[in-house]
């Protein structure tokens, strides 16, 4: 496959950062089809339109996801990318893998594909870019038999669940994110490998409100660690920070001189709910008004820690801007114990309530967040059996009518029409 002239792409190699153009050129030395990726991309820059066609019937036997068909609409010009399918591999919980495994995956992809990878894709998967339909079954056989590796989700499937590294390295984790992620991945194998819904559905698990996997922005079902009791305060360590014994933010952001640490301006005044104050050198928190934003804990990790009565908040319905613009997930269940003993039965119940409702009420290609937006949050909360709290209310009501439910009205909706007519005879 010949090299193409790519003057516009070459410009992208001139900046200070590593360039994907340089990476692809390097890979083309081993996989000449990569020259055609660059050639087609240069043409797209020139035509200001993509030359990829999405979709197709590619897949491996028994699976309805994990492989995404990609075809060039200019195959004669760029035969190396005429078929250029993507393969998604399920990533391990917390994205821990050995270099041995990584090498084996790269070797596999050099053998069956373009050798190009994208780690990690936005769902979390290890993404392998560029192969042809005839390579899929042999690649899948070797991957499952020799590498003990499975495909991830795509299409209208449950997408590969992903989690932060949680308790394996992070003292803030309020539940074992990796254990829950692994449990649900195994529990819902059918939903991951075969289409199950009107559209995609994503789970993400963060151990605390820092939300390192951006669950609140990117998942239909976000499980975000939190605590019920008070932030634990070590007042001696608070004083240590004030004296300068410890670096704020554990030394992060130290690339420039921020001056002497000031607990008032850097912590207390930045508390979003204004629920912190100093009494002399003692830090006070009105925990009932704390929104668990993590700011104070992030700044003074030696002095402040999440409470001990831990669990998670369930937020539902984030999505990217395809139809009505992007949106964050909405807080649905404020606190749930994450209980491995019961095989996470509360989490499973909540998930299945959402699925049963959304599969019925959701339209084709409608994310659950859009369904909630369409029918209204009160209806969704009723489906979930959640009592409505002040925190569920986004703005004061603008609708003057009050709608009663039948069970709230004495005698219900039944009435004797004849009786009524007698009294209201025209």
């Amino acid at each position: 496959m010949p090299k193409h002239d790519t003057p516009m792409l070459d410009e992208l190699e001139k900046g200070p950062w590593p360039s994907f153009v340089t990476d692809i050129k390097r890979q083309a030395a081993q996989s000449p089809q990569c020259w055609d990726i660059l050639g087609q991309l240069e043409l797209s820059f020139k035509d200001k339109i993509t030359h990829w066609k999405h979709g197709g019937i590619v897949g491996v036997f028994g699976y309805g996801g994990g492989i995404v068909g990609r075809y060039s609409d200019v195959p004669k010009q760029f035969p190396g990318v005429a078929h250029f399918h993507t393969v998604r591999l399920a990533q391990p919980s917390g994205m821990y893998y050995s270099t041995k495994k990584m090498r084996a995956i790269c070797d596999l992809w050099q053998k069956y594909g373009s050798g190009m990878t994208n780690m990690h894709g936005s769902t979390g998967d290890l993404v392998l870019l560029g192969t042809t339909t005839d390579q899929l079954e042999p690649m899948f056989y070797e991957m499952t038999h020799d590498l003990n590796q499975d495909l991830g989700g795509s299409g209208s499937n449950l997408r590969t669940p992903s989690c932060c590294l949680g308790m394996s390295r992070c003292e803030w984790s309020c539940y074992d994110t990796q254990a829950l992620c692994h449990f649900l991945t195994m529990h819902y194998q059918d939903e991951i490998h075969r289409p199950a819904f009107p559209y995609k559905f994503k789970f993400k698990f963060s151990g605390c409100p820092n939300d390192c996997v951006a669950a609140i922005a990117r998942s239909d079902f976000a499980v975000i660690g939190t605590w019920k009791d008070d932030i634990r305060i070590d007042q001696a360590a608070v004083k240590g920070y004030m004296k300068g014994d410890f670096k704020a933010n554990a030394g992060a952001h130290s690339g420039r001189d921020w001056g002497k640490f000031n607990i008032q301006t850097e912590v207390v005044d930045l508390c979003p709910t204004g629920c912190m104050w100093m009494e002399g050198e003692t830090l006070k928190i009105d925990n009932a008004n704390c929104t668990r934003c993590m700011h104070c804990i992030n700044v003074m990790p030696r002095a402040l820690r999440p409470g001990v009565e831990t669990g998670a908040t369930i937020c539902v319905g984030a999505k990217a801007p395809i139809l009505d613009g992007a949106q964050f997930a909405t807080m649905t269940i404020p606190f749930m114990k994450i209980d491995a003993e019961s095989e996470y039965s509360d989490v499973v119940d909540a998930i299945e309530k959402i699925w049963d409702w959304w599969m019925e009420v959701g339209k084709n290609r409608e994310r659950v967040g859009e369904t909630i937006q369409r029918v209204g949050l009160p209806t969704f909360l009723t489906v979930m059996g959640v009592d409505i709290l002040p925190q569920h209310i986004r703005e004061p009501r603008s609708n003057p009518y009050v709608f009663w439910k039948e069970e709230e009205v004495e005698g219900g909706w039944t009435r004797d029409v004849k009786e009524f007519r007698k009294r209201n005879a025209q």
Partner: protein, 79 residues
């Protein structure tokens, strides 16, 4: 009354054969038996794929169902 598993399979295949478009969303099959649970319809449609009577067609973000002989023409458009 909900259809039996076999009756629902037959109704789904009939719909996939006769619908104007070759690819159908899972929701398009719910009407085959309004009394059946959406998850049961999904399971039966997926069984039909396992049996080779239907195929998945995926755009990458959504997955649809189709009869193999109706979708092959679509696929060869890419060649």
């Amino acid at each position: 009354m909900a259809l039996s598993k076999e009756e629902l399979k037959a109704a789904i295949l009939e719909k996939a054969k006769t619908a104007p478009k070759p690819q159908l969303y899972i929701k398009d099959f719910y009407a085959c038996d309004p009394d059946a649970k959406p998850r049961d319809v999904k399971n039966i449609a997926n069984d039909l794929v396992k049996e080779g009577k239907m195929m998945f067609w995926s755009s990458g973000s959504t997955t649809m169902y189709a009869m193999p002989d109706r979708i092959k023409n679509e696929e060869t458009r890419h060649e």
